[in-house]
């Protein structure tokens, strides 16, 4: 029912764009506010729909997934959360899907953040992953199966010092348990004991610092989830093989949800995004059609 209404609304929205085209052609472009309204409607309607979007898996996502698949069950994985709530729409679905996948593979997860809000976002992701019945049945223990070391200020210097010993930067976890009393950390000194580092990042400090220090100096294996804005800046490192793979923006998140079969919010959001995207593209097209017809008239 909701689907039918939504689809009808979307068709109406499309038809009204024809009107916009006609108006713009007559040299009377629509105002800012109408553009705003289009964006709001285009982004909102699909949230009420339940449609499967056919999604091809891009190479960067597949490479990341393959690298994760190659890890033996029970591997020690560090998850670094370097973002805050404004970037959560893109990164949180990635984090949730990653946590679900990792818990199902029995990875031992060590969480930390170079952004103050990062470890809080991590807790939310764990929270959500735990609601999966298969994971809940595992009865995972804090401190044994996963640990949250919390936030540490100092940007890239934190990673630098962690190269010697994690303990220097994280003498206690976020619950103020001393490092040495955490069962999971007992045999972990520094990056040499970590099999994989996954970084969720929306800026700096973030993936670039992880590449430059953890990968280049300490030889870690790194995968990352980035906002769409950050992703282009990371491409040079991806291309140079300093990272095994990358989830870029919402489509990266949706693809990751698909390839790990952990359907989540990104799979819903991606439809909203596609339609909002389409609106922007159509508006640019209308603008240009109008521009050229005007130019021809002048000739």
């Amino acid at each position: 029912m909701a689907n039918t209404i939504s689809i009808i609304l979307l068709i109406l929205l499309g038809l009204s764009l024809v009107y916009v085209l006609v108006r713009t052609l007559k040299g009377n472009p629509i105002g800012r506010r109408i553009v705003f309204l289009y964006v709001a409607i285009a982004a909102a309607i699909p949230l009420f729909m339940d449609l499967e979007v056919p999604l091809p898996i891009t190479t960067d996502v597949r490479n990341l997934y393959d690298a994760l698949e190659k890890l033996p069950d029970g591997s020690k994985v560090m998850a670094a959360f370097d973002y805050d709530p404004p970037s959560a729409p893109e990164l949180q679905p990635m984090a949730v899907a990653f946590m679900k996948y990792a818990f199902k593979r029995d990875f031992k997860i060590i969480i930390m953040g170079l952004w103050p809000q990062g470890p809080i976002q991590a807790n939310m992701a764990i929270d959500e992953a735990m609601q999966d019945p298969e994971i809940a049945a595992k009865n995972l223990q804090y401190g044994v199966d996963y640990v949250n070391l919390g936030f540490q200020s100092g940007n890239e210097f934190v990673i630098q010092s962690m190269g010697t010993a994690f303990k220097t930067m994280f003498p206690k976890d976020y619950r103020t348990t001393p490092y040495d009393s955490i069962p999971l950390m007992r045999n972990i000194v520094n990056f040499s004991n970590i099999d994989f580092v996954m970084n969720f990042s929306s800026g700096e400090p973030g993936t670039i610092q992880w590449v430059q220090i953890a990968v280049d100096r300490f030889g870690s294996v790194l995968g990352a989830g980035n906002t769409a804005v950050q992703a282009p800046q990371v491409y040079p490192y991806l291309r140079a093989g300093q990272m095994v793979g990358l989830l870029g923006g919402m489509s990266g998140a949706a693809e990751f949800e698909k390839i790990t079969a952990e359907k989540g919010k990104a799979s819903t959001f991606i439809l909203s995004q596609m339609i909002a995207h389409a609106i922007v593209i159509i508006l640019i097209l209308i603008g240009n059609v109008a521009y050229f017809s005007e130019k021809r008239k002048k000739k």
């Binding site: 010697t164 520094n190 040499s192």
Partner: protein
């Protein structure tokens, strides 16, 4: 555990331990099991060498060793190498665990006040065997880092070029500098505000004084306010950092003095809003639609807010001159502003506006830097391409040298 490790003949103890395990693990094991277990005992890593890491502040020691001969590709019994360090002959501590195949480690956790000795063990899932312990070593601190000699050379060449042109410009050598549209437009933009009787808004980005872009912005501010003071226009400048507020006030005050209008200056021109990125943006947006400045300058370090500010400025019909060194934000300024300074132009702007020969000379020096960069790019591409295709020794050597130069 620790005692057995400190013991150099730990092999015997491990054997004994295995025998003990065997006897306590019940009657299922036969005599063959015991034999196969003791035969499988792995060889320890050997030739452990601890040397002072050169050219540092005495805070690292490099360790290298020959991996155990049992460290094989297939069916590797070794799961890790464990490094132990004893400082001033106290109990050894585990400092690192490295994957099989490792033969090198840089220990950054030392200081010149102590002496250290090391041992490394190869460990399987069941036991570990220890290498000999190294002699005691005290790390040394050096004064000069010779590893960075090429970096020093490069810095000297580039700075030398810049200074050479500064000096030659000072001696009166004529220099050509191409027009930068965004900067040519400043006079007109300030004049327009004066004519319309509306104020000028200046936004120096949202970063603090420890970002070079903010400093570049303030140097431009100094030039622009000079013009503003001469036209007797009004400027207001909301800022996101207290330090920037203080520095901007100094800058504007100085410009008003230089324009012989010290009485027109007031501290109210610059106000601190909040350090919070979007809190600042919320306020600046409101200010824009309420004060309706005729001209808006957006010069400095901008992040996501670039488009919010530029679009709001556009909606009130202001002339906008923007510039930033953040590539990701440049497209938004280009879309919503009248003029945009791209990257390097932001840092050159103050020198350009000053029109002083010495400042312009430094721009010429920058160009020499670009020419050098282009030269090395082309030379490196040539060397790498030829050396990959035909393996000619001359080009191989050239490539090696270039790689060392840029390492």
């Amino acid at each position: 555990m620790k005692n057995s490790l400190a013991d150099r003949s730990s092999g015997g103890i491990i054997c004994a331990a295995l025998i003990t395990i065997f006897f306590f693990s019940g009657p299922l094991h036969s005599q063959e099991d015991l034999v196969s277990l003791s035969v499988k005992k792995i060889a320890p890593p050997s030739s452990l060498l601890a040397t002072d890491h050169k050219y540092d502040n005495g805070n690292s020691i490099s360790l290298s060793w020959v991996p155990s001969i049992d460290d094989a590709l297939m069916n590797n019994p070794i799961v890790a190498y464990k490094l132990y360090r004893s400082s001033n002959d106290t109990e050894p501590n585990l400092i690192a665990e490295l994957p099989p195949g490792s033969s090198y480690f840089l220990d950054n956790g030392v200081s010149t006040d102590n002496s250290y000795s090391y041992s490394v063990s190869a460990s399987t899932n069941a036991y570990e065997v220890l290498s000999n312990r190294t002699e005691s070593i005290t790390p040394q601190s050096e004064w000069i880092n010779y590893n960075k000699k090429y970096l020093f050379l490069m810095v000297m060449i580039i700075s030398g070029a810049i200074m050479y042109f500064i000096v030659s410009a000072k001696r009166g050598k004529e220099l050509f500098v191409r027009k930068i549209a965004g900067l040519e437009a400043i006079d007109e933009a300030v004049g327009r505000a004066t004519e319309m009787g509306r104020p000028i808004m200046y936004i120096p980005g949202i970063q603090d004084m420890d970002d070079v872009q903010t400093i570049a912005s303030l140097t431009i501010l100094g030039r622009i306010t000079r013009t503003i003071a001469e036209y007797d226009s009004k400027i207001f400048m909301p800022v996101a950092r207290s330090l920037v507020m203080t520095a901007a006030r100094e800058t504007i005050k100085a410009s008003y003095q230089a324009a012989s209008r010290p009485d027109s200056y007031s501290d109210d021109m610059v106000n601190y809003i909040t350090d919070e990125q979007f809190g600042y943006v919320a306020h600046v947006n409101g200010l824009m639609v309420r004060e309706k400045p005729a001209t808006v300058f957006l010069l400095g370090a901008f992040f996501a807010e670039s488009l919010i500010l530029a679009e709001t400025g556009n909606s009130i019909g202001a002339i906008q001159i923007a510039g930033t060194a953040r590539p990701a934000q440049l497209p938004f300024f280009i879309a919503a502003c009248d003029f945009t300074l791209i990257g390097e132009e932001l840092f050159a702007a103050s020198a350009y506006l000053s029109g002083e020969p010495m400042q312009l000379g430094s721009l010429k020096g920058q160009d020499v830097g670009k020419a050098i960069a282009m030269f090395f790019v082309l030379l490196g591409v040539l060397a790498a391409t030829v050396s990959a295709a035909w393996d000619i020794e001359l080009f191989n050597n050239l490539l090696d040298n270039l790689n060392e130069l840029f390492s």
